[in-house]
Amino acid sequence: MQENILLETRDLRKAFGGLIAVDGVSVKVAQGSMHSIIGPNGAGKTTFFNLLTGNHAATSGNVLYKGQDITHLPLHRRAHLGIGRSFQITNIFPNLTVLENVRLAAQALGGDNYRLFRRADSFQRYIQRARQVIDLVGLNAETLLPATVLPHGGKRKLELAILLASDPELLLLDEPTAGMASEQVPELIQTIDRVRRQGGKTIIMVEHNMSVVMGVSDRITVMNQGRLLAEGTPAEIAANKTVQSVYLGELYGDLNEAAGGSHGV
């Protein structure tokens, strides 16, 4: 069966001075798949995301999206192509309401950004879209609160809502459950998986919670010290001896200790 490749990187590298955070990574992500990236702290996962979205410029190598080379495309143009992301460290508009945070994301790609003399709240479609997404992540009760007063779990939900509001084709999720109470994790993951199945989305997810990763992923890429260590189905990765020694053993240990399964920054 020939899979449709939505996103591909070729020998992607990023150096911060002498530190090589991403070191020659080549991956292919199939359309409609859930592709997880795992690896110990500092492996370069977030940096890899930053290269895909354009938050950082690649030192060398290429990023291809739907066959088009987007390596040097600015951040906002990639958003217009259908690439959206959430951040590991919550990255919201702190003094705006929850609704306005999400409404902005819904407005961003809608083509009405330069309507200087109409009220933003007269564009009902963006407000409706925002309310729909807020409902989906379960933040209804907090709609009119300033984002900054939300508890940590609420901010994580908002982070996801901002991503979902613009309805991207490719969703990059950087540790969506980081710091969340463990009882909230399954619900969030189910929401994400439902979005993918219903919308035919492609998801690349960085996640430390192993039970989550093993349960929902179609493929898993393992990174270590900027390099690609292994890639395969969850079963293949679980059976991979190198991965076990470098990473899995250590993390499963962590997982048993920290009952939350959450992961610090």
């Binding site: 906002h76 958003a79 902005l104 950004n113 309507r115 613009s166």
Partner: protein, 345 residues
């Protein structure tokens, strides 16, 4: 619809009516005609009209600064450039061309708007890629450069500047001050309404997003450079109109309109009144300027020692500024609004 609008904005409506009748009220109380005496600009009403025109000018300047600083989160130290450019262009048009009267005035206003827009775009394009403090420093350098050039260039009459003698009678502040007062008041009102409209529009929503978190705004698809450019350009055009009113009031334009104080004053007025609020800059401008005017000649006697308020005005202003920042961290309007929201909960 109209009734609802008026009802929800009663404060502004009342204030506007008060400002419209004020010159007549002062004239009635003091017995000095608001039109001056036999065409000469004398009397209490005329005096206060002049001071209020200065307040309106500063309020418009501060509102334009607030658009960039308070709503978009961009700190520019070059705002005086736009303020000064307005006056100089009118001066050059009246001095070097045969255009006088209404035609000269209209062409001066048109050119002012065009030149300040072009300056805003060019300076923005060159400097907005710089981050935070570097951007602020660069804008300061550009504005200072213009100040130095204009105060030395023969074309701009160096330190002397131009006297604006060929203004139409109906706008001439020595002959028709009351008309000019209403023109300045109209500019204040229009600027206020314009900025409010802009901020409530989809475009304004993006400006706030840039202020709150530019990286996130870019990540969800906004070309934030364009929006910052728009804010700087629009604010520059508004500031240039404020500069025009100022030089017409003085009937003179010289390098002082480009002085860095025309950046610092609106900055202080915005912070004291409340950055990112609609009324804050207006309240800040009125408070600081009226305070300056009323207290300038005041000398208080404290147990034999006399303190000259006017001579120590800068010091007093400094203390007021420190107090405001400590007591009202979000400015007067901003802090009040937060307090009221908390009361409501």
């Amino acid at each position: 619809m109209l009734r609802r609008t008026l009802a929800s904005n009663w404060f502004y409506v009342v204030l506007m009516i008060a400002l419209i009748v004020l010159p007549h009220a002062i004239g009635w109380v003091s017995g000095d005609s608001p039109f001056g005496v036999r065409g000469r600009p004398v009397g209490q009403s005329i005096y206060w009209q002049g001071i209020l025109i200065e307040v309106f000018v500063l309020a418009v300047l501060a509102m334009s600064y607030n658009l960039v600083f308070g709503f978009t989160g961009v700190i520019s130290f070059g705002h005086a450039l736009f303020f000064g450019v307005g006056g100089y262009i009118l001066g050059i048009v009246l001095e070097y061309t045969d255009l006088t009267g209404e035609v000269g005035l209209l062409i001066g206003i048109g050119l002012t708007l065009i030149v300040s827009a072009v300056l805003g775009l060019v300076i923005g394009l060159v400097t907005l890629r710089l981050r935070g403090v570097y951007f602020a420093m660069f804008t300061l350098a550009v504005a200072e450069m213009f100040y130095i050039f204009f105060s030395r260039l023969a074309l701009t009459r160096a330190e002397d500047g131009f006297a604006l003698t060929e203004l139409p009678v109906w706008i001439d502040p020595t002959r028709s001050r009351l008309t000019f007062y209403y023109i300045a008041l109209a500019l204040l009102a229009v600027t206020f309404l314009f900025i409010r409209r802009l901020i409530f529009s989809p475009t304004g929503a993006v400006l706030l997003a840039v202020r709150e978190n530019e990286e996130r705004a870019r990540t969800i698809g906004f070309d934030t450079l364009r929006f910052k450019l728009l804010a700087i350009t629009v604010a520059g055009m508004i500031a240039s109109l404020a500069g025009l009113i100022q030089v017409i009031l003085n009937k003179k334009v010289g390098p002082e309109v480009l002085n860095v104080s025309n950046t610092i004053d609106p900055l202080l007025m915005t912070i004291i009144g409340g950055a990112g609020t609609f009324t804050g800059p207006v309240i800040g401008a009125a408070g600081l300027h009226l305070g300056d005017r009323l207290l300038r000649d005041l000398v208080i006697e404290v147990g034999g020692a006399s303190i000259d308020i006017g001579a120590n005005w800068a010091l007093i202003l400094g203390i007021v500024f420190i107090l405001v920042v400590l007591v009202f961290p979000y400015g007067i309007v901003g802090t009040f609004r937060r307090w009221r929201t908390r009361q409501a909960k």
